[in-house]
């Protein structure tokens, strides 16, 4: 069964905070839920499906269901890191199509800044029972940034990709972030600024990295008859797919991501092709993440991503493929180190015509959002959705 057209995104909300010292984690989840339901014109009593990931306090969905006073008949706490919430949109549509719920609420919240959490440059052990891979990795010092950096090293070696090409991705995000009053970094940067910023883990510089922020967001996915009854513009889900890419028993290939699988499947389900897409939200933990996903989703041939992203081609109103017009994780927001949910939010704003006028894509009727969670260089979850304005 296809989920094409079986669900609509009716409500979205992004928490304006980027530093949540005075908010609890549960409170942020509840505030974004309230915001997205009000955006849709629904109440919490309409919610009969609840989706969250590992950022939610407590075991799976239970604590948040109680805290918010929900009574869902369908719950899903699938955690694929930052890609979870893109995956949840697809799962919500499946549940709606199967008659298991009609109003699905997805929430994300995090406060790594307030909690003084270890950043992307410190190796992190999960604690507790180690994962089977941990003894063979953790002692070597894998961090968020150096494992993504290795993908960049190999991409440069195989395809001749340059630091300047990667820098263009940050430059484009910064051009967009200047118009977002909530963005953490609002200064426009140049290619030179990026390549001259301090080296963190070769070949990634400080400005190749995303921001670390507190905050969160929520999405309300509804059945067609509910969408019809609401006053908001109708954003229809055309396709969704998920995948987990691994080290494959040692047959490691860092030149591509799971987007190769999810992109193909999502475009097939949606019945559209990359050249039809007017706007893309692409997971941007690092510049290399964006470049690889754009290739893997079919926006450029493998190895030609550097050319695609250079010279402002990702800047709204300037280039052919406007991306992350809210400033993305590179400049605006990466709540709880999980950037997938905000990718869906900006895609919905673009389709509704509610993006900032300076970055609103004209006649934006078809958009793609993609998430990558975990570590691109170790193992990661991928999820893609294609959305249409009806």
């Amino acid at each position: 069964m296809s989920i094409k057209g079986t669900a609509y995104i009716a409500g979205i909300y992004e928490h304006p905070t980027r530093l949540a010292k005075d908010l609890s984690l549960a409170q942020i989840h509840a505030e974004v839920a309230k915001g997205a339901l009000e955006d849709a014109g629904l109440t919490k009593d309409d919610v009969d499906g609840y989706f969250c990931a590992g950022d939610a306090p407590g075991l799976g969905p239970m604590s948040m269901v109680e805290y918010m006073g929900l009574r869902p008949r369908h719950v899903d706490a699938t955690d694929t890191g930052g890609s979870s919430y893109v995956l949840h949109v697809g799962h919500a549509a499946q549940a709606i199509a199967a008659g298991k719920c009609k109003v699905a609420l997805i929430t994300l919240a995090g406060r790594p800044r307030a909690e003084g959490m270890a950043t992307g440059t410190v190796p992190r052990s999960r604690g507790g029972t180690p994962t089977p891979d941990e003894p063979f990795e953790f002692p070597y010092g894998p961090t968020v940034v150096n494992m993504y950096a290795m993908c960049a090293t190999r991409h440069m070696y195989e395809f001749g990709t340059t630091s300047e090409q990667l820098a263009w991705i940050k430059v484009a995000a910064s051009h967009h972030a200047q118009h977002n009053p909530h963005a953490l970094l609002r200064d426009v940067v140049t290619v030179e600024d990026v390549v001259k910023s301090p080296m963190i883990a070769d070949p990634l510089h400080r400005l190749d990295c995303c921001v670390i922020t507190d905050g969160g967001g929520a999405i309300v996915v509804v059945a067609p008859e509910i969408a019809k009854s609401l006053k908001r513009p109708k954003v229809k889900l055309l396709g969704a797919a998920e995948f987990v890419k691994t080290q494959m028993g040692g047959k490691v290939d860092l030149t591509y991501s799971g987007a190769r699988v999810t992109g193909t499947a999502t475009f097939e389900e949606a019945g559209v092709k990359p050249s039809d897409i007017k706007y893309v939200s692409i997971y941007d933990s690092f510049t290399i993440t964006v470049l690889m996903q754009l290739e893997d989703l079919g926006f450029a041939e493998k190895g030609k991503g550097g050319k695609l992203v250079a010279d402002g081609n990702l800047i709204a109103g300037v280039g052919k493929l406007p991306f992350n017009t809210d400033g993305g994780g590179l400049c605006s927001n990466h709540p709880g180190n999980r950037g997938g949910l905000t990718k869906v939010l900006e895609a919905v704003r673009q389709l509704r015509g509610e993006a900032h006028p300076a970055v609103q894509v004209k006649n934006c009727d078809l958009a793609l959002a993609h998430g990558t969670g975990g570590s691109l260089g170790l193992r990661h979850g991928s999820a893609t959705v294609i959305l249409e304005r009806e």
Binding site: T121, S125, P130, P132, D133, E134, P135, F136, E137, F138, P139, Y140, G141, P142, T143, V145, N146, M147, A149, M150, C151, A152, T153, R154, Y157, P198, M199, I200, A201, D202, P203, L204, Q247, M248, G249, G250, K251, V252, L254, G377, L378
Partner: protein
């Protein structure tokens, strides 16, 4: 030897599980083991009792040659003691997460030949790493 290797980097001990006991025992004797499947003939890493390719439970330990090439690397500059994270392609086939040590990090290249060396961890078994061959 480059100056960046003179400061001592402390390596956390790996958690040794029963299924990988032989791997760490061998490492302590300066031997690198890889798992080979008796059913499909494939080598894999990290080692598992069940082959991740065909799910056969007939797997055996093979002593690797210790030779390989750098598949990818990244020098972690933002660390108390900079270090080179890497994937090395073993001569036997599998690619493993490791570090490149005892060398000038600025001269590292993809596909460069390397050989295994073993480094002490804090209270745990020796850890296989690689150095330019």
């Amino acid at each position: 030897m480059a100056a960046q290797e003179t400061k001592q980097r402390k390596l956390p001990a790996p958690t040794v599980s029963a299924e990988a006991q032989a791997y760490w025992d061998a490492a302590n004797q300066g031997k690198l083991l890889v798992k080979k499947c008796l059913a499909c003939g494939e080598f894999h890493h990290y080692p598992r009792p069940l082959c991740p390719f065909c799910f056969s439970d007939k797997t055996e330990w093979i002593e690797a040659s210790g030779k390989g090439t750098i598949y990818a690397f990244s020098v972690m500059r933002r660390a108390p003691v900079p270090y080179a994270m890497a994937y090395v392609t073993l001569a036997e086939g599998p690619r493993m997460v490791t570090n490149i040590v005892d060398c000038d990090f600025d001269k590292l290249k993809c596909e460069q030949p390397v050989k295994v060396v073993f480094k002490p961890t804090e209270g745990g078994p020796l850890l296989p790493m690689f150095t330019p061959a």
